[in-house]
């Protein structure tokens, strides 16, 4: 009783920080500690085959520059990103426009359309792997109906088909995400403004560029940023579809990092790759946030 009165009369201002301590401790343990530890590891000579764990200085980082497979993987990642991201954006935007008007069955359609995004990417990838199967896959089957002869396209092996297959799955899975976010943004645009524009004589594109786009831009920019980062880190779909193959043709940076760490067991070198990716992404994200005007 006396203690409670004392607390009320002279509240311990530090008490709230004590309450935060467990959360901060957990954050440090699972977040910052591994980050710092891998930074340290990247300056050492650790691999899982050897007991030598001596300090290596910038040796691992120097190796990054001559690693052709690494730069190829970065190139693959970039290729997938620059093709898939604009398509997802435009497709999502078009769908959002389509579903902006009230129509019968709108709710059900939206729920169905969003399903791909709900599925775990590895499951989606595995499912598409089966759909793309050259002998038993329904895709070749359906294509065969149209072609009039059996189609046996090797979707996950043919060098000409693997990228279209991967990018198709990626777009299939993540366009609904863009659609949902842009639908929310579009439904928040003041309808009387677009009505005023339609009376003023502005067509669709002028209205979109001058009135709708500025209104949805903050949301759209964040959606682009999120999806862009996701695409740079793309792993599951590729792992399930091609595992980086044929050869290393579809090896993205995440797939390459994984195989260096857990197939080649080059622990320190893998840490160096991871840090390279962190640096690249940080630079890109900071630039993008400035460029998109999100910092204002």
């Amino acid at each position: 009783m006396a203690a409670a009165t004392a607390l009320r009369a002279n509240p311990d201002r530090n008490f709230r920080y004590w309450l935060l301590t467990p959360a901060i401790f957990l954050l440090l343990l699972v977040g910052l500690f591994p980050l710092f530890y891998s930074l340290i590891v990247s300056f050492m000579r650790i691999d899982m085959m050897d007991t030598d764990t001596s300090f290596a200085g910038l040796y691992n980082y120097a190796n990054l520059f001559s690693d052709k497979r690494l730069w190829a993987a970065l190139g693959h990642t970039l290729l997938i990103t620059v093709i898939a991201l604009p398509i997802e954006l435009l497709l999502g935007l078009a769908m959002a426009y389509l579903f902006l008007e009230k129509m019968p069955g709108r709710q059900i359609f939206i729920s169905l359309l969003v399903l791909p995004t709900i599925i775990s990417p590895i499951v989606a990838g595995a499912t598409w792997r089966l759909l793309f199967d050259n002998r038993f896959g329904p895709i070749n089957q359906v294509l065969g109906w149209f072609a009039g002869y059996p189609v046996t396209a090797l979707w996950t092996l043919n060098p000409k088909l693997v990228y279209p297959a991967i990018i198709f799955c990626e777009i299939w899975q993540w366009t609904p995400f863009m659609f949902l976010i842009l639908l929310a943004a579009l439904s928040n645009v003041d309808k009387s403004q677009t009505e005023a524009a339609s009376i003023d004589g502005a067509g669709f594109f002028r209205t979109f560029r001058r009135i709708v786009l500025p209104a949805i831009w903050p949301v759209m920019a964040i959606a682009i940023l999120i999806r862009g980062l996701d695409l740079v880190r793309i792993f599951d779909i590729i792992w399930a579809l091609t595992a980086g193959g044929p050869g290393t043709m579809t090896e993205t940076i995440s797939v390459y990092t994984y195989s260096q760490g857990f197939k080649q067991f080059e622990t320190s070198y893998t840490a160096a790759i991871a840090f390279l990716v962190i640096v690249i992404l940080t630079v890109v994200v900071v630039w993008a946030i400035r460029r998109m005007g999100l910092a204002k």
Binding site: D190, A196, I199, A202, I211
Partner: protein, 357 residues
């Protein structure tokens, strides 16, 4: 020549019948006010004229051209919205210029027109500002500027003053009336405020439940309402309605008061009616009773001074009746006064049909 002609217009939202067969012709240069309680279909009607809502049935002609299925931009109209609908990412100049740019006017012409409109509305110094940096009244001026700069055939106003405070509303009302006189354009104005309707309109279209109840000059509707609804909607304070029984040319109230009607009424003998008397048509008795006036003694119940006038409530024929008197006439409740009712301007309503007889 008429600038707007609506024939047999219906509007359905699903199964909801919002506009139920409107016929309306608006002559060139007229200021028409669509007025009525909320949900009467006045805004829907305006939006259908603008092309923002599709017509379910009937035709809309603007400038003798059938525009029922034309896009809003092809209708030669300008519109002012209730929430101003300014483009938030453009400054005032660009807001006003937007319609001209969309219609590919030359820069010099745009510049001239925008400055003309801005000068007319007194917003010249604000041209570089963004809408969010303006007050409500200034925003409304910009919205009006955006409409007049286009020099359209038909101006549509959708409750443009309802977001403003009382003082500003009065100022802007004057402004709009002045603009109409200067521009001489046909204007259709939607409001639920009967004072706005009375002060602005050349002609009032009074709507209820998707239908036109009555249509005419403000004075016409005020003095000669067609039915109970019109009589009760227009006028402030509201018209008094007292049940009575007709006996020849005399209306007998439930408390026995006999009021002699002036002028010819088409009521049947002993018919139960509702007597409608405007508060403005009651005065304190003078020395002599004028022809067509009735004199009654009443006890004052409630006194509400409004400054220039005083609203006095008293029981008459089982109802509380309000009279608008000169402010010096009555100051305290409780006293007995003798009032003078202008029976020539009283109306008699059939309670069954709610029509004036």
């Amino acid at each position: 020549m008429s600038d707007l002609k609506i024939t047999g217009l219906h509007k359905y939202y699903g199964s909801f019948h919002a506009v139920k067969g409107i016929d309306l012709e608006v002559p060139s240069g007229e200021f028409t006010v669509l007025v009525g309680p909320s949900g009467c279909g006045k805004s829907t009607l305006l939006r259908t004229i603008a092309g923002l809502e599709e017509t379910s049935e009937g035709t809309v002609e603007i400038g003798n051209k059938d525009v029922t299925w034309a896009r809003p931009r092809d209708r030669d109209i300008a519109m002012v919205f209730q929430n101003y609908a300014l483009y938030p990412y453009m400054n005032v100049f660009e807001n006003i210029a937007f319609g001209l740019r969309a219609r590919k006017f030359a820069d010099a012409e745009i510049n001239k027109r925008v400055h003309n409109a801005a000068d007319m509305l007194g917003i010249g110094p604000l041209l570089k500002r963004l809408p969010r940096e303006l007050s409500g009244g200034q925003r409304q001026r910009v919205a009006i500027g955006r409409a007049i700069v286009r020099d359209a055939r038909l101006f549509l106003f959708d409750e443009p003053l309802s977001n403003l405070d009382a003082q500003l509303r009065d100022d802007m009302r004057v402004e709009i009336k002045r603009l109409h006189q200067e521009l001489g354009r046909t204007m259709i104005y939607v409001t639920h405020d009967q004072i706005e309707a009375m002060t602005l309109a050349d002609r009032i279209v009074l709507l209820r439940d998707g239908r036109i109840e009555q249509l005419g000059s403000p004075l016409d509707l005020f003095e000669r309402p067609a039915n109970l609804f019109v009589a009760s909607f227009l006028g402030s304070p509201k018209m008094n309605f007292v049940p009575a029984t007709l006996d020849g040319n005399t209306a007998i109230l439930s408390d026995g008061t006999k009021l002699t009607l002036a002028g010819k009424r088409n009521g049947k003998a002993k018919q139960a009616v509702i007597l409608g008397i405007r508060p403005q048509h009651i005065a304190l008795s003078g020395k002599r009773v004028a022809i067509g006036h009735a004199q009654v003694k009443v006890t004052v119940e409630l006194v509400q001074p409004t400054g220039s006038r005083v609203q006095v409530a008293f029981p008459l024929g089982g109802k509380s009746v309000v009279a608008e008197l000169e402010s010096r006439d009555v100051s305290k409740p409780g006293g007995k006064i003798s009032i003078d009712i202008d029976m020539a301007r009283a109306i008699v309503i059939d309670p069954q049909t709610e029509k004036v007889i």
